[in-house]
Symmetry: C2
Subunit: 230 residues, 2 copies
DNA sequence: ATATTTGTTATGTAGTACATAAGTACTAAA
DNA sequence: TTTAGTACTTATGTACTACATAACAAATAT
């Protein structure tokens, strides 16, 4: 095999830069010292000197940690350790346009998996008031002949509310982030949004049916998505 | 209310730095121009000049994108857009020690939700060979009186294999990342790892039972975790 | 035609300089 | 003595310069 075609497929090993190394070293440092949120960190120049690199490099590494919300800085005061937003970093790269097809498909399935697993949390935490609010959303969709964009908005609102009923804020945010992916796949495959079981029927099941009833309803609601899977 | 106690709870609004702004501008730029993976990006100095900031600031912003895997650079050649690893960024902040308790709890529930939703994908993709391999793992656990660390390792192996059977690599990686969180919570609450339904029974259900059988088995397996939820 | 050398260029790193914000200590006035 | 105001100090934020290094390109030699 000629070298030319090899270099096309095999990327040269990217050697880590100083900033990469410093980032890792800083992470280790934070872990080792068991810093807690709010704890002050050494100042940039001290870090640079200790690590034997320029302040520039330290700042590039710190810039990354700042982006993730792991540290925050104030002039004069210095840096303190902060709690990162676990989903914030995820959000930054969740763009359907730059994610490869197979990962998009994986994320699509992940959301379906979540949806099918919701029942247990829902039946643990559902309240009459919550179901009423969910029903309200479902009812606004009942009118036939709605415009497509509205249907999508309503679809998002309904499922968003459903996740909200689980009382799990992270879960709710997570599914919200997956929405663009979901929308992208559905649009790509020109699928119909409307399942065999309507939102209103799901609400009814959630209010009056058993956990298994609801899960079966959800499966029917999503069946045309599952049908596409291989 | 005195100001002193206010400043304790309310952090001063952190004004964005140039690096923050440039990061956003670069993201917008990439999106607007519809760059695809592999496309070359302008060089640092050009970016700096266009944005009216120093090369330093541009590099701090680029360092962030590099960390996320959105761009990669080679000397002389310049920068190209690359596909970020969607879970890579997530991994960076998923440290049980710095995540607050309520988010940890949310992630714990998220994993339970996934686990309960696995059945549909599993029954779509399970193979005899896969189940055989799963059984092999389950059998190594059968010996009673195993040491605790081994039990945990086996638990991880079993559920990891289970996710692998879904054929969804992202899902598998995702659950793998959630493991430390799961372990942390379980350890924290001094729960028993052993559920009412053993791994071997789950394998049996997966092989011979219906989808609903398996899901009920999984619920029983995880019941003592669900019992802790409020 | 192939191998070697040389030149060019964009990134990687170091270092200096200064603006800015935010504490701290000191001074002056009530 | 207390309070208000001022000057000082310091760590981060930003800009700029300089040079090393890797990788490509072109020119030259074999």
């Amino acid at each position: 095999m000629p070298i030319k075609s090899l270099t096309k497929d095999l990327d040269r090993i990217a050697q880590p830069t100083m900033a990469d190394i410093v980032e890792i070293r800083l992470r280790e440092f934070l872990k080792k010292k068991a810093f807690k949120p709010g704890d002050p960190l050494p100042k940039e120049l001290d870090l640079a000197e200790s690590l034997g690199v320029s302040r520039n490099v330290v700042r590039e590494a710190l810039s990354r940690l700042r982006m993730l919300g792991m540290v925050s800085t104030k002039k004069k005061v210095g840096m303190i350790l902060t709690r990162p937003d676990v989903l914030g970093s995820f959000e930054r790269v969740l763009d359907p346009l730059i994610i490869d097809q197979s990962t998009l498909q994986d994320l699509f399935e992940l959301r379906l998996t979540l949806e099918m697993g919701l029942a247990d949390l829902l039946y643990l935490r559902k309240t009459k008031q919550g179901i009423d609010e969910l029903e309200k959303i479902a009812k606004t969709q009942k009118v036939t002949g709605e415009r497509h964009t509205f249907r999508i908005k309503n679809e998002i609102a309904f499922h968003g509310k459903l996740y909200q009923l689980t009382g799990n804020e992270t879960l709710q945010r997570f599914q919200n982030m997956l929405l663009p992916v979901f929308g992208y796949i559905v649009k790509l495959e020109k699928r119909l949004l409307i399942g065999k079981v309507s939102h209103l029927e799901l609400v009814h099941l959630l209010r009056n049916g058993s956990k298994e009833d609801f899960r079966q309803g959800m499966l029917a609601h999503l069946q045309h998505h599952f049908d596409q899977l291989k």
